[in-house]
Amino acid sequence: MNAGQKSARRIAAGNGPISRDTVCVSCLHRLTHPSRRNASTGTALAESPSSPTQQPRHPNPPVTTAKAPRKAYQLLASPVLSRPPLLTRDLTSFEKAYYLYQKRLNERLALPFTRYFYYKKGTPGDAEWKRKIKVRKTPARDIGVYAAYGDEGWNDEVLVGDRTAERESVVEALLRDAEGKGIVDEEVVGDKDTEGLVVAGDAKVGEGQRRDLTKVEVERPVERVTEADRANNMRSLSRKMDRTLYLLVKNREGRWRFPQDRVHGRENLHQAAERILVQGFGIDMNTWIVGNHPIGHHQMNYTSGGAPAPRLAKISPNRLVSTSRDRPEYEQEEYGEKVFFMKGRMMTGQADIGKNEYGDSEFRWLVKEEVEEAVTGGYWKSVKDMLAER
């Protein structure tokens, strides 16, 4: 029931006999029993110029009980199932430059690295450390070659187009360090005959040279761009892992919508949303509907040629809603649809369109921009503010 005096007055003045399904009980009481304190309230209500239609006003509007098919809207619940992003977003160029600058600045401000605490003198770890430091002049691996306290300490800026700040080069530098390689690949010294490898007998040649006795192969991290991205498989949940994906279905009429269905019996929106997910996509989805309040709504009035054209709907009980089985199939004249969207989160699983009970033909997991392209204009206006940018 809308709060406030204005709407109550509007209803009292305008629409003639008040039906119980548009006015709540407390307002109904207030309208039918104007307060005795202010004797003029009844007349004030009557004189309010809110409605243009001049209908005969009653100080006590008669209350009617609906017996004929009710003037109503079709109430629908629609779960907006989202898979939140699995990866952090890419950094902007400003962020990359800033982080590189901050890391190089840190070299000059933080305490020096306590090498002998971690690497004891004379151990192989210590030898490897010394070898690596010689090349990159600093214990850090992700800032390129930079000596904070050397002669070149002032030179902490990189040239335009430098790849040191990129995430890929940072990760690559860490992996190479784990493999035991320096920043720059050392040239293998040797003869042509031995294919550049050092021969055991050539002691002098092999002196300053490190031999790859054990090739440590460190596993590369999995790519951020998956197979599903390359193939642009819109049914996959592994596509666009740094964005939020929303589940849409192509309904009977061939329109792309969020899955929706009527609210049956005495179930609330939360229960309806959960039921719709099961009836629409099977039970192989681990989902969670957030809270009991909708996150958006969309209203669509049935019109034909501009004039309202109510449709007669047959409401049959739903097998999953026990309270809907209390009354047999009944009819209702509906003036339009009101869809209430419920926020849902997807954890694991996948939708199975084969289990769909609403006649939907296919499903897709789409990003916000793709939803805009797929969906009609009026629907998009209602829906766009609910969806996350990322």
């Binding site: 305490l111 992700d142 784990a178 954890m347």
Partner: protein, 178 residues
Amino acid sequence: MHSLHSRPHVLRPSLRTPYNHTQTRHASLLRRPIRPYTFTQLITLSDGSTFTHRTTSPQPIYKSTRDTKNSVVWNPSSRKLLNVEEDEAGRLRRFRKRFGRGFDVDAEEKRGEGPENTQQDEGVPDEPAQEEESLMDLIAASAAQQQQASGKKAAAVEVVGGVREPAKKSGKGKGGQK
């Protein structure tokens, strides 16, 4: 005066305009913070996902074997994690690597039916594709064979009991003698 050297200045509203409450801190000495040297490290979780973070550890890569990605509590839908035996990072795997599958409930039942089967098996462990064949498995299997050959009925129990003794002597189950 004293305040310049002893205490850091407290942020206070500037006094010029009574309504202007911008934060100001007039020139005063701030001691340089003593912060340890920090590296960037790549962390690899048990399911292969990676991220970088800042740490005082000089290791470039940290591989985690036990984290939220292979925990039952954090992955309630995963049947693989529910099954304690299949859990790769679990303690049961470590136990089996050391002591073999002689202590499995399934294995004991099979050994109970042993008399008909051992001659065919020839000391091969129960499951065909066995990667973690430990010495204990082979010992137990050969012991079972011997017992069957000598025709004792309490073979299953004694084999298991026999396996346990060498395990107590050497913690890693190596060098077990029968």
